[in-house]
């Protein structure tokens, strides 16, 4: 009866590991099933919008915030945008490319969605975008940041959120010219978003006349950032630029402070956005970052978003809420410009001409469907007992090619190939 490790036990462990691996991306769900809700009656009829965001898995919080932003905007308009009653069908992309494509198919073929709004993970966006193009259903991306998603002129894909490099190119220039930090160490995540967000900063920073002296990349979901923080050349660098959204950012900042690194830190805005800032708290104090949104923007449009979102979700508004909300505004204005039926053709043409005053400021699209908007240089400060990203500087109308111009920018090699070459 003594039961030292038997074969069954070993096979049990293997089964357990497989189960864990299979369930790694499946975790808690709050709202899984598509919602059937009563659609408000519009004078011009009904438009079906598929909301395709992750409601389970590691990005569940982001997807839920985007959906809340979109639905709150819709609610503020009584469910009617430009005369169309909007029927929302929510599906869960689950941060799984297979599930994402299946759900996109389902939205188009079963729910008859006339437009799809959403996508958080770039890998899924790459899988879903060509399908929607072929199916003739316009796609409005709300988070997925891969640079390559908006590189086709007059395409079917529009994006209200950022390309991974767009929001940090101005920060590169700002760090060199305004802050005067001449030598930077880069500490980022080792996957496409990390490379693009590091590369955008490095390119603008070096072209402004400063030098990247070190690049350190850590795998996604690194538990202990100690080994990486310890490698920073503290005696040589003037500043550390970091890219680490979500819990990686929390762990990175903690390790940075715990190991007593005193160098000033600049960051991609997602590293210290409002989803992680309450937890980062004083470890983020003084961090300068750039992003297209901060709840600190003073405008009537932003006040409306902040009030509605804070009341509904009991937490601070953030870039994802703004992405969803702005997607709603964009759709509304596109619909208002359409004469006749909202066919895919008409929707695309109307989307390309949209120019709205959203909570983040003016938003329009370039010829590639990528949003052009203001970038805010922000600083983490304590205010009223909480932590906020207050605005230090505003750079108006930044497009995905920054000051390089599209022709020149498109001849640059991809950031995946430039990773590791910035530091001389």
């Amino acid at each position: 009866m003594g039961s030292p490790p038997s074969r069954l036990l070993v096979s049990a462990v293997v089964a357990a590991l497989l189960a864990v691996a299979a369930c790694g991306s499946r975790s808690p769900s709050v709202e899984g099933a598509p919602t059937a809700e009563t659609t408000a009656k519009g004078d011009k009829g009904t438009l079906t919008v598929g909301l395709l965001n992750p409601l389970t898995g590691p990005f569940a919080a982001l997807g839920t915030d985007v959906n809340a932003g979109f639905e709150l905007y819709l609610k503020s308009k009584g469910g009617v945008l430009s005369g169309y009653g909007i029927k929302v069908v929510k599906e869960d992309e689950g941060t799984d490319p297979a599930q994402g494509t299946t759900k996109a198919r389902q939205l188009v073929e079963q729910s008859k969605a006339q437009m799809v709004v959403g996508l958080v993970n770039s890998a899924i966006a790459y899988a879903v975008a060509p399908y929607l193009e072929q199916a003739g259903v316009p796609l409005l991306i709300t988070v997925a940041g891969a640079d390559g998603l908006t590189r086709k002129k007059g395409g079917n894909t529009f994006r209200v959120s950022y390309t991974s490099s767009q929001d940090v190119m101005p920060l590169g220039e700002y760090t060199c010219k305004t802050l005067g930090h001449k030598k930077a160490a880069i500490l980022g995540l080792d996957y496409s978003f990390g490379w693009e967000a590091a590369g955008g900063f490095a390119r603008a920073y070096e072209d402004a006349g400063c030098a990247v002296i070190q690049e350190i990349y850590a795998p996604l979901a690194t538990q202990d950032w100690g080994p990486y923080v310890n490698q920073i050349k503290k005696d040589e660098a003037d500043v550390v630029y970091v890219v680490a959204p979500g819990s990686d950012g929390i762990r990175l900042l903690k390790a940075y402070r715990d190991f007593g690194v005193k160098l000033p830190m600049v960051a991609h805005g997602s590293t210290v956005d409002e989803t992680t800032l309450p937890t980062e708290a004083d470890t983020a104090e003084g961090v300068i970052s750039s992003l297209h949104y901060t709840p600190q923007i003073k405008s009537a449009a932003n006040d409306a978003l902040v009030a509605a979102f804070t009341q509904e979700r009991k937490k601070s508004a953030n870039q994802y809420a703004d992405d969803g909300w702005t997607a709603g505004m964009v759709l509304e204005q596109a619909l208002s410009q359409i004469n006749g039926a909202p066919t895919a053709e008409n929707l695309r043409a109307a989307l390309a001409k949209v120019k709205v005053e959203s909570p983040r400021g003016p938003v329009s699209f370039d010829a590639y469907g990528q949003a052009v908007y203001n970038i805010y240089i922000r600083k983490v400060e304590q205010r009223d007992g909480g932590w906020v990203n207050s605005i230090v500087s505003t750079i108006p109308d930044v497009n995905q090619f920054f000051t390089y111009g599209e022709e020149k920018y498109l001849t640059f090699p991809g950031y995946d190939k430039l990773k590791g070459t910035w530091a001389k």
Partner: protein, 286 residues
């Protein structure tokens, strides 16, 4: 000096892994209950302590309530569910996985999916500076706590009457029953101890690495690695394995950054190829 820092940090990370694995080596390694809910109890402890502390409860009280709360939940799961499946590994896998998902769902529903971080124990924030060496206080203390815990738990199992009863109950249930040992009670208490340790690791590990509703599975995987490499049921084995894993992770990340994901699992495969029973495990009698 940087080598000393890296070594210390590897030991600190290993110590954290030991905190997580110590509970699992008791429930899974010793009691032979395949416990995939271990990561969930880790989360439960961490979230409870975080919740209380953020409402202004004293840190140490919050920690104790978190640990005891999770231990009670663990005992309830053992008594009501697992207890019926003694010795049936596959049903245990499915059941504990279910428990883990239910707990994860509840955490997501109550606290949302944004990552949280239980506070660092008061007085242990920031670095300690010894000449050129700058090292976080909390991590130094963690090394000491893990060593103390390893000694305490292995002494408990090896030298106390309770420990003798536990070993008897695990090794031969029928014989243990026949000499008057209350096996179900012993198992209940041992499971409570295991989940309590998981919760303690959650409170302190959360302060180290932050928590989110799906981080339970990441932690479970590392704990399984430590328990299997150390040898099932061996506390000293788990301790040695945890430190080794911590050091391999640390130096792997510094010396071969491109292979960061690979170094750990490669060394695990190597250890198990040479010693299938784990570093300090008993060889299986044929």
């Amino acid at each position: 000096m940087s080598w000393l820092t890296h070594t210390l940090n590897g030991l600190a990370y290993g110590s954290l892994l030991f905190l997580v694995a110590s509970g699992l080596t008791i429930t899974f390694g010793l009691m032979r209950t395949v416990n995939l809910a271990h990561g969930a109890f880790y989360l439960l402890g961490g979230y409870l302590a975080y919740d209380l502390a953020s409402r202004g409860t004293d840190y140490w009280l919050a920690m104790v309530i978190g640990v005891v709360g999770a231990a009670v939940a663990g005992m309830a799961a053992q008594r009501l569910l697992l207890h019926r499946l003694t010795g049936q590994e596959l049903p245990q896998i499915v059941l504990t996985l279910g428990v883990a998902l239910v707990i994860g769902d509840q955490i997501l529903a109550h606290y949302g999916g944004d990552p949280i971080s239980p506070p660092t124990p008061p007085g242990l924030t920031g670095p300690v500076e010894l000449g050129a060496l700058v090292f976080p206080k909390f991590r130094l203390v963690l090394i000491g706590i893990a060593l103390g815990l390893a000694l305490l738990v292995s002494a408990l199992l090896r030298y106390t009457p309770i420990g003798a009863k536990v070993r008897a109950a695990v090794d031969d249930q029928e014989m243990a029953r026949s000499v008057g040992i209350r096996v179900p009670l012993i198992f209940l208490l041992v499971f409570g101890l295991g989940t309590g340790l998981a919760a303690f690791a959650g409170v302190w590990g959360g302060a180290f690495t932050s928590l989110s509703p799906d981080s339970g599975f990441e932690v479970l995987l590392l704990a399984l690695v430590v328990v299997v490499v150390g040898g099932l049921g061996s506390i000293p084995g788990a301790y040695v394995a945890a430190l080794a894993v911590g050091l391999v992770e640390e130096f792997g990340r510094v010396l071969f950054p491109g292979w960061a994901m690979f170094t750990l699992y490669a060394s695990v495969a190597l250890v198990l190829a040479l010693r299938p029973q784990g570093l300090l495990g008993k060889a299986a009698p044929r």
